[in-house]
Amino acid sequence: MTCKAEGVAAAVRAAAAVVAEHRVELIDLDRAIGDGDHGENLNRGFAAVVAALDASAPDTPGGVLKLVATTLISKVGGAAGPLYGTAFLRASAKLGTAADLDVPALLDALRAGLEGVQARGKAVGGDATMVDALIPAVAAAEKAAEDGGDVAAVLTAAADAADRGAESTVELVPRKGRASYLGERAVGHTDPGARSSALLLRAFAEAAR
């Protein structure tokens, strides 16, 4: 099973709907340990992504992800804009102009996205950031692909692992971003970026079914 540009665009629209649905949850998570703008920023960014897709839908999966990247970079003022923007930009560069997104291409895109986030934010596993959702997600995606999973199975495995990874940030002392200013006091809170990463992967997985 592969996925074409329309499928990727549909997944992105589904992700935008999930972000809108969880806007308040993300705001609350961020208000506890950050500046409270993550839900608002991400929602504004994805609303702009949907508007951009309405205006002109690219005809390759890579093209769709590039549009997502440039829109998020321009519309999200906080750290999430450059971080997610870089992730989608690196992923789109991996996909190139291919018309279909198959499992190997999906793995390449996921790995490139994670590398992009780490290059931009300089976070490593255990810093209580979105990286803590994405590292296990990529590992689980690779495992699912080895086991012969299709695009939907690979994304579902990634989303499951990202959920657990996001939950693990509750126990961690943040070492990057605004939450790091709180140090130990941020323990006991889910990192909003890890949570939104898990939500996005879940939305993509649901859309791929």
Binding site: D37, N41, I73, S74, G77, G78, A79, G81, P82, L83, G85, T86, R120, G121, G177, R178
Partner: protein
């Protein structure tokens, strides 16, 4: 022409105010503020940073400085998006001190790598050395009669002027000594009106450099 400077801040006012301050010491350098979001709220606007970087480049490249966390990411992303990413450098230094140091270095005609290094080293308090660390060369003693002493503008003027001479110049006040290439070090001396400074110079144009310093001091730095 000189290296251009872009100030990336979450706040439009912060970026604009700092550009105004830095411009006082580097009148010929293009300094572009890129602060806040287009709707006036707090944040960093990628498109504005890209545009400011392009406008600040008059051919010698650009150095970007940033305030907090995501401003660095926005600045780095903007540089990566340029047709020639090597034309711009994101400098890792304190925003205010770094902007001043970068502006003065750019005004003195240094290249973008040197300007970025000036910004990066601006927060390191090793600019002041014990006075005995450098001895030798020619020296003169001068009394500061201008009203503000070696404050920002006179210090900037001194650094700019001396950059044209092939000489290593230091300025000493009491038991502290500053490298005359560093506007921040000069300002850190805290030399005021009525203070006597000792200016030492070494190198092929040491005498000419000292004569120029005497001229500046005697002329009250044009105040």
């Amino acid at each position: 022409m000189s290296v251009g400077i872009v100030l990336v801040s979450h706040s439009a006012k912060l970026a604009e105010g700092l550009a105004e301050l830095a411009a006082q010491m580097a009148p010929d350098v293009t300094i572009r503020p890129a602060g806040g979001l287009s709707d006036g709220s707090i944040g960093t606007d990628y498109d504005e940073v890209v545009a400011a970087t392009q406008r600040a480049d008059s051919g010698d490249g650009v150095v970007l400085l940033y305030d907090l966390g995501s401003a660095q990411m926005t600045a780095e992303l903007a540089v990566e998006s340029l047709a020639d990413p090597s034309a711009a450098i994101v400098a890792d230094g304190p925003l205010v001190e770094g902007a001043i140091a970068a502006a003065v270095a750019a005004q003195a005609g240094r290249d973008r790598k040197a300007v970025a290094e000036a910004a990066a080293s601006a927060g390191i308090p090793e600019d002041l050395a014990p006075a005995e660390a450098t001895a030798g060369g020619a020296g003169i003693e001068l009394e500061l009669r201008n009203e503000v002493g070696l404050h920002a503008r006179p210090a900037g003027l001194l650094v700019r002027t001396l950059s044209e001479f092939d000489a290593e110049v230091t300025v000493r006040l009491g038991d502290q000594e500053a490298d005359a290439r560093s506007v921040l070090a000069l300002m850190s001396l805290g030399a005021r009106q009525g203070d006597r400074i000792r200016v030492q110079a070494r190198g092929p144009q040491a005498e000419a450099a000292l004569a120029k310093v005497r001229e500046l001091v005697d002329g009250d730095f044009g105040e």
